[in-house]
């Protein structure tokens, strides 16, 4: 087994122990509820679902789902003091970071893409599934990368991740398009705004949409992973009790 495969396999095991696979269903349940919520609106189906997707899926489900997975990928190990098993090895740091990120991304794909698709089906907006799935996949890639980076930087990764999502992205990003351009939340929303049916209402000035947003999310992912690799070359891995 190659080192990269070992890191990936370990990440999957640590993030989702064998008896916890059922937890993947939790976001599906939430997504179904959001899909049902769209019926509370009198607007046409597609437009009503776009609003629900904005407030429920892109603002809550995807960030929170990725936060849980992203923290388990690295931050939780940094806190508990088990990351040395991986770091104290000849495996290049970039392989460790990529393996961890890929493991987290795969889990988030399994948890979130079916969830958002299910939400669209429940809301009778099946036409939204391709754009919604693409937005979720690209957004979760950037989010997992971001939470891996936060896990490298601070031991209070979960708290800082929540602060980034709700204070920086949600609050500052609402007011400043400069922040929104660098935000997985706003950019994944913009992917759907540009490619989804009847989702023009979600378009926002100053934030690239459609495929341009996918490119932007890819760049964000690459940059945060590069920063995480750099940071992990100079760790301060104190013991869990320190």
């Amino acid at each position: 087994m190659t080192a990269a495969t070992a890191v990936l396999g370990y990440t999957l095991r640590v993030c989702l122990p064998a008896r916890r696979w059922w937890t993947l269903v939790l976001p599906w349940v939430a997504a179904v509820l959001f899909g049902l919520l769209s019926f509370a609106s009198d607007e046409p189906r597609q437009e009503a679902f776009a609003v629900t997707a904005d407030h429920g899926l892109f603002s809550l489900l995807i960030p929170i789902g990725c936060l849980v997975v992203g923290d388990a990928v690295l931050g939780a190990e940094m806190r508990s003091g088990t990351f040395h098993f991986t770091w104290l090895s000849p495996v290049p740091i970039r392989t460790i970071v990529l393996g961890r990120w890929l493991g987290g991304w795969l889990i988030s794909l399994v948890a979130l893409v079916p969830a958002v698709a299910l939400s669209a089906v429940v809301a009778r907006s099946a036409a939204a599934i391709p754009a919604l799935s693409l937005a979720t996949a690209a957004g979760s890639a950037a989010y997992i990368g971001l939470f891996v980076l936060i896990g490298c930087v601070t031991r209070r990764a979960a708290v800082w991740s929540l602060a980034v999502v709700f204070l920086v992205e949600r609050l500052l990003g609402s007011a400043l398009s400069g922040v929104a351009q660098l935000s997985p939340m706003w950019e994944s929303r913009a992917v759907y705004a540009g490619l989804g049916p009847d989702a023009e209402e979600l378009l926002r000035d100053g934030v690239p949409d459609g495929w341009a947003a996918v490119v932007r999310l890819t760049i964000i992912t690459v940059v945060v992973l590069a920063l995480a690799s750099w940071r992990l070359r100079h760790p301060r891995l104190a013991a869990a009790s320190d």
Partner: protein, 321 residues
Amino acid sequence: MSTDGPVVTALSTGDPAFAAEATVEVRDLSVWFGPKVALSELSCSFGPGVTGLLGPNGAGKTTLMRAMTGLLGPKSGRVRVLGRDPRASREVQRSLALVPEDEAVPAGLTARQLVRYVADLHGVVDRTAVERCLDEVDLTDVADRKVGGFSKGMRQRVKVAAALVPDPTVLVLDEPLNGADPVQRAHLIALFRRLGAEGRTVIVSSHVLHEVERLAQRQIVLLQGRLAAAGGHRAIRDAMADRPRRMLVRTPAARQLAASLLGLEAVSGVTVDDGSIVVSSSRAGEVATALPRLARDLDTRLEEVRPLDDSLESLFRELVR
């Protein structure tokens, strides 16, 4: 407790802090966390064989071990393992292994999965290595149990197995005997001694000092982040010649012998208690030589003569005093 100067000055002259064939070198190493200085301009080295790393809580042992493995970066100074910086060279990690003190293990993995993971990361091609290492620490029977359910001692052992699987040249063990039962302690001590005898550099920290005495031929003693003493524990003790050593003497004529002992220039103090005498002297050898003569003069016999402070515990007590 003051550590303004070296506690045992005699040790710095012959450089007992430095091993002859050093595999791990620490030069002027300083590490601090905010206002707390964990290590201060520490210089020492480690070579093949077992070296004990001693010191009270907060002395800097764990920090030194983490710096040696690259998990912590020095604020100043440098660490070299096999001639390379462990933070800059990923390759040196191939020859280096750490058993940390804290109990943390990936709870969802079995012992076999954890050791296999470490083996895969190191590119271990020998498929029997995992089983062999689990067997070394007597965990074969529970290899398929989740390590999250292991006792403290079992967790330590699975970490030892994971550390052994890459066949490291340098093995850093932070309190590896914690939580192990007496049988396992003896087993692990024998294992570490064997690894040292094979020419590996084995660095062991422990608070169980009599076990370090059994385990390590050489000790490095840290106090408040500084080097306090280095060498074999007897050599360290001898170097502390300016401090009185104590010996216990049992004899039927305790009071008379005590009075005779007080006449010796080498004796700095005597206490008598129920047939036994505790003699304090900075020249214990002279006292030991004189004792049979004094007993013969008093026509009495010596039932027991033994040093009270020739162990690491007493050395340790004296250093931290």
